[in-house]
């Protein structure tokens, strides 16, 4: 997954997951750009508040505990008044649980 970082947490070497625009809609930095001291300075000059960066693929994926998965399942079930019946609904439901678990994990870190 990509992560959203506020500008004060950004460090040189991180890779942008999506382009960054100024207020006029012009691209300041394209996707896949590696951030440098200089480009971070430019972003601050343009008053960019946050950027979306790619997760470092060398970092091992953090295993999501069964506890968090269960919490995620409960949160999704709270929203729904139904249970999945076909492959599309299982796909939607499972994606929602995994996505919610990821969010819970990000909130913890």
């Amino acid at each position: 997954m990509s992560r959203i970082l506020t500008i004060d947490k950004v460090e040189p070497g991180l890779i942008l997951a999506s382009p960054i625009y100024n207020n006029a809609g012009q691209v300041l930095l394209g996707a896949d750009t590696e951030l440098t001291q200089k480009s971070i300075k430019v972003l601050k000059t343009w008053n960019i508040k946050s950027v979306i960066i790619k997760d470092n693929s060398n970092e091992p994926n953090i295993e999501i505990s069964e506890e968090i998965m269960e919490l995620a399942r409960r949160k999704v079930n709270e929203r729904l008044s139904w249970e999945p019946r076909n492959s599309n609904e299982f796909d939607l439901y499972n994606t929602a649980v995994n996505f919610t678990a990821q969010e819970l994990l990000n909130a913890q870190v």
């Binding site: 990509s2 809609g25 394209g30 979306i52 729904l80 008044s81 139904w82 492959s87 609904e89 994606t95």
Partner: protein
């Protein structure tokens, strides 16, 4: 306020008094209806409104259209995306601006409804692409506008609509049932009337009116079916809120007709997440 004194007729009168879309929108519609209009004519009109031009440029460079920052002028945007796509984009931007986002009450905040609607628009456009739909330019707009009737209710009768929402949450019933009980008319019907007043295209009106059912009088319309699924999917994935607290199950017949890939959500969740962040920044912040 005695809620029982609010009558449907009063609400419909308020609909007549409701703002029309701004001049630039109507001039653009007139220009586009004229077969001799060139891309340059449209570009000149949009460029004459600095704030509209800036927003259009930002939007066309956002991930919604997959052009990733390659567009530097309005005429280039029209050439790459076409008249209809630009028209619908301006319609979305215009209507979002028409509703004051800063007015909320203790129960409801309109920004939350727009956030949900943006997620629906993004998912809807992805479903449109994945199912090789015709008229893909309608998909984002239909998602953005599907709940416009709720914003109308909130604007003309905020206290009453807060009661509707509270009733839905407390009794765990669908919003439409709470609306029928406390107002006597649903947001889907009112939304369609508003869209008619604004002369929005028929497919958009159908999506607003029938998104809860997924069919138009039992007839399959891909856009209506897709908004039906996108709306439920957005809420299921967490892009929902108390404006639609009880999330319904999709109409099983809609799945059969739509023929969406079995792993569509798994494969697209990351793009939904990223597009949502950029698009909501773009559309909801001035």
């Amino acid at each position: 306020m005695n809620l029982s004194e609010i009558k449907i007729e009063d609400l419909l009168l308020k609909l007549e008094d409701f703002p029309t879309l701004p001049t630039i929108y109507n001039r653009m519609m007139d220009l586009m209806a004229n077969p001799r209009t060139t891309a340059l004519d449209i570009a000149n009109l949009i460029s004459s409104d600095q704030s509209a031009a800036t927003k259009v440029l930002k939007a066309v460079n956002s991930p919604i259209y997959g052009l990733y920052g390659k567009i530097t002028s309005i005429s280039q945007a029209i050439n790459l995306l076409g008249f209809d796509e630009i028209r619908n984009l301006i319609t979305a931007l215009t209507i979002i601006d028409l509703f004051d986002k800063n007015i909320s009450n203790q129960v409801l905040n309109p920004v939350e409804l727009w956030q949900h609607s943006i997620a629906v628009g993004i998912i809807n456009r992805m479903i449109g692409i994945a199912t090789h739909a015709n008229n893909i330019e309608n998909y984002f707009l239909a998602g953005i506008l599907h709940d416009i009737g709720k914003l109308f209710f909130f604007k003309v009768a905020p206290q009453l609509y807060a009661k509707v929402i509270e009733y839905s949450i407390e009794n765990k019933v669908y919003i439409r049932d709470a609306e029928m009980k406390l107002i006597g008319i649903t947001h889907t019907v009112v939304g369609d009337l508003l869209a008619e007043k604004w002369r929005l295209p028929i497919p958009i009106r159908q999506a607003i009116r029938y998104h809860n059912i997924g069919f138009v009088n039992e007839e399959y319309h891909p856009l209506v079916a897709s908004v039906h699924i996108s709306n439920i999917a957005a809420s299921t994935l967490g892009y929902g809120n108390k404006w639609e607290y009880v999330v319904q199950q999709p109409n099983i017949e809609v799945w059969k007709k739509l023929e969406l890939q079995n792993d569509f959500f798994k494969n697209n969740i990351e793009n939904i997440y990223l597009d949502y962040i950029e698009s909501s920044n773009l559309l909801l912040k001035n």
